[in-house]
């Protein structure tokens, strides 16, 4: 068995995705915490293009970009816990929703981290976020327990950040978007997702996370004092 190493960062949902996938597959790996303010030579060597985490190293060969890594994990360990559906069309749907989240990522990031103090939903950015969540609930989740059906799959892993990281973002901005009253099914999904044992055992400390998010926002708004999309 070739050695598996994961270069990660404790608050990063991109990092958590890979951890969850490896744990679900039962793959043993070594975890290395990166200090993003002082990137290791190893990180720069393994991901010279983006210099970012997560990076999975398998048998000395690096793979970067979280979704490329997730698909690599699925391709390499196909016999345990399939992360994608067997049916080609359903697999295409799963990939579609993963890409949807990837593409909308910037909107959400801007709305929470870059735009100055505007707490109510009148803010165009927040409106877009709510719309995004509504589309997910209606079209991607529907009446299923998880995006993957009865068990969590790659789409659940992709949106997993909504179940804990997003709560921190909401608290940081003093908004409430993902509520049982506004998004009952998605809210229920988030609660169910966090209860899955692999997920439950691999979530960052919430208090620590909140402190971290606040410092990220401070840094971002300091760099972009008049930024408003």
């Amino acid at each position: 068995m070739e050695e598996v190493t994961l270069l990660g960062f404790w608050p990063s949902p991109y990092s958590h995705r890979v951890i969850w996938a490896l744990k679900l597959k039962g793959v043993k790996y070594e975890y290395i915490e990166e200090d993003l303010g002082n990137k290791s030579d190893m990180l720069l060597q393994y991901n010279p293009v983006y210099k970012k985490i997560p990076v999975l190293v398998h048998g000395g060969r690096p793979i970067a970009e979280s979704f490329v890594i997730l698909q690599y994990i699925e391709d390499t360990w196909p016999h345990t816990y399939p992360l994608l559906p067997k049916n080609a069309h359903e697999r295409a749907l799963a990939r579609f929703w993963i890409k949807f989240g990837e593409d909308k990522g910037y909107i959400i990031f801007s709305a929470f981290f870059l735009v100055s103090e505007e707490k109510d939903l009148g803010d165009a950015g927040m409106k877009e976020v709510l719309e995004f969540l509504k589309i997910l609930e209606e079209h991607a989740l529907g009446d299923k327990k998880f995006f993957g059906g009865d068990k969590i799959g790659m789409v659940d892993i992709a949106y997993g950040w909504l179940s804990y990281f997003f709560k921190g973002m909401e608290e940081m901005r003093g908004v409430k978007l993902l509520e049982p009253s506004t998004l009952p099914r998605l809210h229920a999904w988030a609660e169910n997702f966090k209860q899955v044992s692999v997920i439950k055992d691999n979530l960052p400390d919430y208090t620590k996370l909140l402190v971290h998010l606040k410092s990220v926002r401070e840094k971002m708004t300091a760099q972009n004092p008049t930024s408003k999309k």
Binding site: E65, V68, I69, Y72, H89, R91, R95
Partner: protein, 261 residues
């Protein structure tokens, strides 16, 4: 005797009727199967995303029906098949839609295993193809669109970004083609990354004409230049080349609209 003859006649008639009904059922099944295996692509002539799917279908030798959509007047089918984005390309197979070009390409590769493979078999190599395909799309193509849509200082900034990132790809090409770029390529040996590169930058000379500067040439990016040259010569790629004047006009229009905003 007549009665016996009549009975035989009726039996024969029943037999004919039965045969006929079996034939009808078989024909209808065949029609259903043809419908089921039918592949339709909804697209736009200008879209490089649509071109990716077209090339993939042609490389695999998959027969398909093409439907040109009018973005100003979207068909009810388009709205039905892609309610979330209301965009093309949309591939319809067995009556079911698949959207997002990258998703469609993987679907095609997984579903039609007989033609040339679009992705390598080895998981690590697959990961490399997916990584670089995403780089070409997000870091190169989208940056070039930003260059098209901007001017002045803002444009200078993205031009520099584009040139820097092209250098990154140029370096990687040395690993992709350790023995140099083949002088001629054929459609059986090209894959997903070739498709990405040729649909994004195949028409680079036209893009350069509109933008007013060269970004892919024998000086700055010799390997990329040769790769594109070889790809553009492949018959299925050549057939799908944009009519030059139409493309110039379209790119100029996009730029105009963007700058007026």
């Amino acid at each position: 005797m007549v009665e016996v003859y009549q009975q035989v006649l009726y039996i024969k008639l029943d037999q004919v009727a039965l045969d006929f009904s079996i034939q009808e059922k078989e024909l209808s099944k065949k029609r259903e199967m043809a419908e089921e295996n039918k592949v339709t692509l909804h697209g736009l002539w200008l879209s490089s995303y649509v071109k990716r799917v077209e090339l993939a279908l042609k490389i695999k030798g998959i027969p398909y029906e093409y439907v040109e959509e009018d973005m100003k007047n979207k068909s009810p089918q388009l709205l039905k098949y892609n309610p979330v984005h209301k965009m093309v390309p949309i591939l319809v197979h067995n009556g079911k839609p698949i959207v997002e070009s990258s998703v469609i390409l993987e679907y095609i590769d997984e579903t039609w295993k007989n033609g040339p493979p679009l992705l390598p078999r080895d998981p690590y190599e697959r990961a490399q193809v997916r990584f670089w395909a995403s780089f070409v799309q997000k870091q190169l193509f989208e940056t070039m669109i930003s260059v098209l849509k901007s001017e002045g200082e803002a444009q200078q900034k993205v031009i520099k970004e584009l040139l820097d990132k092209l250098k990154v790809l140029e370096e990687e090409i040395k690993k992709i083609f350790p023995e140099g770029i083949p002088t001629s390529m054929n459609h059986e040996t090209v894959g997903l990354l070739d498709i990405m590169v040729v649909t994004c930058f195949g028409p680079h000379e036209v893009q350069e004409e509109v933008l007013g500067f060269k970004f892919i040439d024998t000086e700055k990016t010799p390997l990329l230049f040769s790769w594109l040259k070889a790809l553009n010569e492949i018959p299925v790629v050549k057939e799908a080349t944009y009519p030059r004047e139409k493309l110039v006009e379209a790119l100029k229009y996009i730029r105009q609209v963007s700058l007026n905003k």
